[in-house]
Point group: C2
Chain length 214, copies 2
DNA sequence: AATAATCCTGACCGATTGGTCAGGTAATAA
DNA sequence: TTATTACCTGACCAATCGGTCAGGATTATT
């Protein structure tokens, strides 16, 4: 978190590495988000990072290595955000916090969401193992949590999985389809007020939809 | 709709053309859905259509021509489905029908949805004009319709646009993220029963969410 | 039967792809 | 100071890209 002349003072080399890797990863996220894995080119990424292509391949030997690192970053950010579901045992509080967190991520890190979307649309050629391990476990555990709320009569009986899908779909839509939303907003990105309103609407509809009266 | 030895009898040439164009468009939808515009290659499309690449370029001079035709098909199908919103003035009936239609389309034509998703993620380089004309008009008109329901007290006050986005996001998620859903379903595609359950859950949560009691 | 129109395709084009490599420069360790 | 290590990059590679083209094969028109 600390901001200081690159890296720990001492280690000019280390600082250079850190700086370049960061620039490359940022550029890669942009290009992968926009063109998908196959459509992205390493020369375009290098250009956007402001370095020669050969230098990019010095840090990341193959395009796939770079792609994996980008996906890794995103997945970890999402996993962290996912914890917001656990911080309360009250469904209203837990779900409100989770939906808000995901909406905020769609606004602050739309590129990550797009890379993920591209990867899934392409049938997850690279990260299938994530889906089958971490994501599957996470989903099962949270579905169980929601089921308990149902059993305790805190929310109406619905299939937990389909509720989770709805939350993912709706929140990530604001990142993945941001361009469409902007166009339908007369070419203007959603203002702070509109974003607040969207969050409120999404949260209210879903909560009320599962029987949590506002 | 009629099935008969290719084309209208008479015109063997016309029949051949019809057959080949269809094969190419089908193959193109698959490949564009999976790889996006930049990632798709004409040779891969030709291969999947079972013809030489040069023959593909005989029917569709450029990759962009072919892509436009694919997008055109999808957009028209969606527009037609969109009419299901208008066939009733009762919000429950109209929205139920619309949601069901979109869910059915996500199941029967997931590739079209994926091509659209790819295009929007890439900021709609090809079809921006559709967004700014047809889609903008359609959205404004339906938002007005929903607003009228609100004014008449038939549904709770929400911003119509965000309701539409939620419907699009949730229904299209079952196409675009179908692979993720399948993986989380232990590698099995959703069965007929699960699909029915998903449709019912989605519809109920959204309707109840805007104040239409079930 | 002759002519015209359409369908078809192997071979080819310049441009771009992901990736390599030899050799140079700058920082660190001895 | 002298090795040693790490960083950097122009030039290059085979493979593939979107697209062309000459010319052969079929079908339609006269």
């Amino acid at each position: 978190m600390s901001v200081q002349g690159p890296s720990i003072r001492n280690g000019h080399k280390a600082a250079i590495r850190e700086e370049n890797e960061k620039a490359i990863l940022e550029a890669a996220e942009q290009v992968f988000a926009e063109y998908g894995f196959s459509g992205a080119t390493t020369s375009r990424i290098a250009e956007r990072a402001g370095i020669p292509k050969a230098n990019l391949h010095y840090y990341f030997p193959t395009k796939e290595d770079l792609y994996r690192r980008v996906i890794d970053n995103i997945f970890n950010i999402w996993l962290e955000a996912a914890n917001s579901l656990d911080e309360s045992d009250d469904p209203r509080r837990a779900l409100t916090r989770y939906i808000h967190t995901k909406m905020d991520l769609s606004r602050s890190r739309p590129l990550g969401s797009k890379v993920w979307a591209n990867e899934i649309i392409q049938r997850a050629p690279i990260i299938q193992d994530y889906l089958e391990t971490t994501l599957r476990e996470w989903t099962a555990s949270r579905a169980g949590m929601i089921q308990r709320w149902i059993d305790e009569g805190k929310i109406l009986p619905i299939e937990p999985r389909y509720l989770l899908y709805m939350i993912w779909a709706t929140t990530q839509h604001y990142a993945d389809f941001g361009h469409q939303i902007t166009t339908l907003n007369d070419g203007q990105e959603l203002s702070d007020e509109q974003w607040q309103e969207a969050k409120r609407n999404v949260t209210e509809i879903i909560l009320r939809g599962i029987g949590i009266s506002s």
